[in-house]
Symmetry: C2
Subunit: 467 residues, 2 copies
């Protein structure tokens, strides 16, 4: 059997390549199909000389020992008690689709490097834009993360409102600024820094007690920034804040944006999945007035890391404002090379696992996953309220519940996090928000049920007794 460094196109290494790939399948099934029997958050261990890049190959046993170690040191996302970070285990076809993506090596940079998928991705993006009600001229593209989606939105907004792609910002009298809730994601600060506005180019708008943008403060901040000689060009609404999953008042923000001629970008990186649900879709009312929307499928849509998109109400104009030609590529005119309209150049075909996963489950299944995860979060919230032991940073809008024991310190919260992991096998995170730490449950996991939630609530009570 020939060594399958590569899959030989004449079949000579096929048997060995199959052995390697099926061994990988079995390795990951041994691990993932047994996830409930291990702790949701593994203890860190050492692997001496894990990282070597030797002249001669490692043996395949050495390779698979390392691969197994990586699996065992990863978060145990599939454990029913894992309701930690804003992330979910991937679907089976997300894994299969990613393998096909790697093997077929389409590159979304250019039509000749992704000849069929170059037509498929824009069609799928139009479908998503339609779900958000962005209208007949909408469309978009996939990107490697929500941070990049937000950056491409802000760059497009800036070019559309203030300048063009050729001339840049030089010589303008007033410094461009963006307004966003103080609870918005830091990717906006990063985008402003990259764009040369500096992180201070994002003006924080007060968020109310439910972490939703305060419209009066938005009005005031726009006025003040203009008085101070700045030039607001964009307001960012958040549908699903990073810590608490709350949703800004989208219709009111849209009115303010229109009144002041500002680009409206909605960061629906997290909350966009509500659009799958008939029951919860209305929470996104107003999003249809956005000029751009960012949305991540590796969170509440169970794709692998990463699967993100940026959508525009007017895709033609968005392309025009962002376009940088790649004259070395051979393509129809006007160019069909997606890389000319994207923040990225080379880009993997995330569209393959996206379609296979969604077609395998069906959209009704996705809707159920949204509905039932919200029901569970509400169940958790009620259970926690009944203990009368904890306080909350506000109402819940999605499936995220943050809490902390009354009159506790950050150190107490950390102890409680550990207690819940050990006693209830529930893995929560401990984000910093409004000056203190909170325990955060983000109920995405498809295998989490009421028993898990009730175990959490019960363990909280025993901890209170013990402490």
């Amino acid at each position: 059997m020939e060594t399958a460094a590569f899959i030989d196109p004449r079949g000579n290494t096929r048997a060995h390549a199959r052995e390697l790939l099926v061994r990988t399948v079995d390795l990951l099934l041994d691990h993932l199909a047994d996830a409930a029997s291990r702790t949701p958050s593994p203890e860190p261990r050492a692997f001496p000389n894990f990282f070597v890049l030797p002249e001669t190959p490692l043996t395949e046993d050495e390779l698979f020992e390392r691969a197994q170690f990586v699996l065992r040191q990863s978060r145990n996302l599939a454990h029913p008690g894992y309701i930690g970070n804003m992330e979910s285990m991937p679907t089976t076809m997300a894994v299969a689709g990613t393998m096909l993506m790697a093997a077929s090596k389409n590159n979304m940079l250019a039509e000749e490097m992704a000849p069929f998928l170059t037509d498929v991705e824009p069609a799928v993006m139009r479908w998503f834009a339609g779900r958000f009600g962005l209208g007949a001229n909408s469309g978009g593209g996939m990107l490697a993360c929500g941070t990049l989606a937000n950056l491409q939105a802000l760059v497009t907004a800036r070019n559309a409102r203030l300048t063009n792609s050729r001339n840049g910002l030089w010589g303008r009298q007033r410094s461009p600024v963006v307004l966003a809730s103080e609870s918005a994601h830091t990717s906006l600060q990063k985008a402003a820094m990259v764009m040369g506005l500096g992180t201070s180019g994002v003006i924080p708008v007060h968020a109310d007690e439910h972490s939703r943008m305060d419209i009066d403060d938005l009005q005031q901040k726009i006025r003040r920034s203009r008085d101070a000689g700045q030039e607001p060009f964009c307001v960012v609404a958040t549908a699903g804040t990073t810590i608490t999953g709350n949703i800004d008042p989208l219709p009111a923000i849209a009115r303010v944006a229109a009144e002041h001629g500002l680009w409206l970008h909605t960061d629906a990186v997290y909350g966009g999945a509500l659009a799958f649900s008939k029951t919860h879709r209305s929470k996104l009312d107003g999003i249809e007035q956005s000029d751009s929307v960012s949305f991540n499928l590796h969170k509440w849509a169970y794709l692998a890391t990463t699967s993100s998109m940026i959508l525009f109400k007017d895709i033609g104009a968005a392309h025009e404002h962002f376009h940088v030609a790649a004259p070395y590529m051979n393509a129809a005119s006007p160019s069909k090379n997606l890389g000319e309209f994207s923040l990225q150049g080379s880009r993997q075909a995330d569209i393959i696992p996206l379609l296979l996963s969604m077609q395998h489950l069906g959209m009704a299944h996705y809707a159920r996953l949204v509905d039932t995860r919200i029901e569970l979060a509400e169940h958790l919230r009620r259970g926690l309220e009944q203990t009368q032991l904890v306080e909350f940073p506000g109402a819940i809008d999605t499936n995220i519940v943050c809490f902390r024991p009354h009159k506790s310190t950050d150190a107490h919260c950390a102890t409680l996090q550990n207690h819940l992991l050990k006693k209830a096998e529930v893995c929560l995170t401990l984000p910093h928000y409004r000056g203190q730490r909170w325990l955060k449950a983000d109920v995405l996991n498809p295998f989490t049920d009421e028993h898990t939630i009730d175990r959490l609530t019960a363990s909280l009570s025993t901890w209170e007794c013990a402490s």
Copy 2:
């Protein structure tokens, strides 16, 4: 057997999940292990209703029919005659590693989302930085493409030389500019546009007859741009130009950069692989003086799309200049969350397939792939010269050979491209360069041999006779 939408953590869907994953393995082996029997560039075909996102699931046969269609419409990279775009078939362990990456769903954004790999990736990046001689304080991070790597380099350069991450560029008297060869990649124009400099913020430096930067013109352009009131802060050298694979005179550019206090970024996205080879490493002499280097592994290092990195000579300073905190994350101080120092937020663990692929082949195998591909390109060049039928845009520095028949039109070149595909089963690309089209052979394919090359040369001669 339960339906395996997900891999059940208690094993209930294991058998079905295995069936889906092994079926995927066999689908891609049926396709790739038979690649030599199909044309290197498939004819476009239609698949009615390929894109549907229905409420109820498709059958699995419908799914796999679609998956097979995607494979068949993709470029046939594994065919020994595919020597087209700057891309290569992936190694077997690149495919296996990507599957593990998807299944384990590490997210390089934060330590708690990628607990073990957060330490591994920086160590591997230091190893690569060492290969480029960047010194004891060097390091870097992976990114989703070379375009992003170049953008992060230029943003870091700008922040380091002109401003800081908080304040941005406002209020500066002189507009910042970057200098790069006219043969450099358009990702630099894209970066300048994103950064608010506009595409005109990249000043093109003349490239000589071998597509290498003209140092006298660089000196002159720096002086002229200063005289015109601009503020040059960075010069970009290219090691492996996009069309012809040539290498700028790195030591001379480094001297000029030092003389003028400019940040030196080397775009080694393509040519960086020369560092694997004892024979060809010296072509990169001078790269060790770079402040930053970008390098793609999905080209000459046979990873899947994508696998890119940005490396810095002083990683501590680079981090400081780029850092945007994610206060919601729980991490040691100073932060170990890689996302705070990266253009990306969420980021897949490309480090898994990188290590598995390189450990499976061994670095000596990678060196051989570099050496033998260059030998083949030189063999092609000699064969083409002997026909006396074609002209070249200059000398070759790597493994890329561009040519066009004497006194031919662009239309002739397109006809010849098609002739070579049909008669010699060789797939070349047809980039636009210096005002005209060229046939381009990029010899990356590990299965291309002298027979393939000789078939190309022979077919060229018969075409000339016929035309």
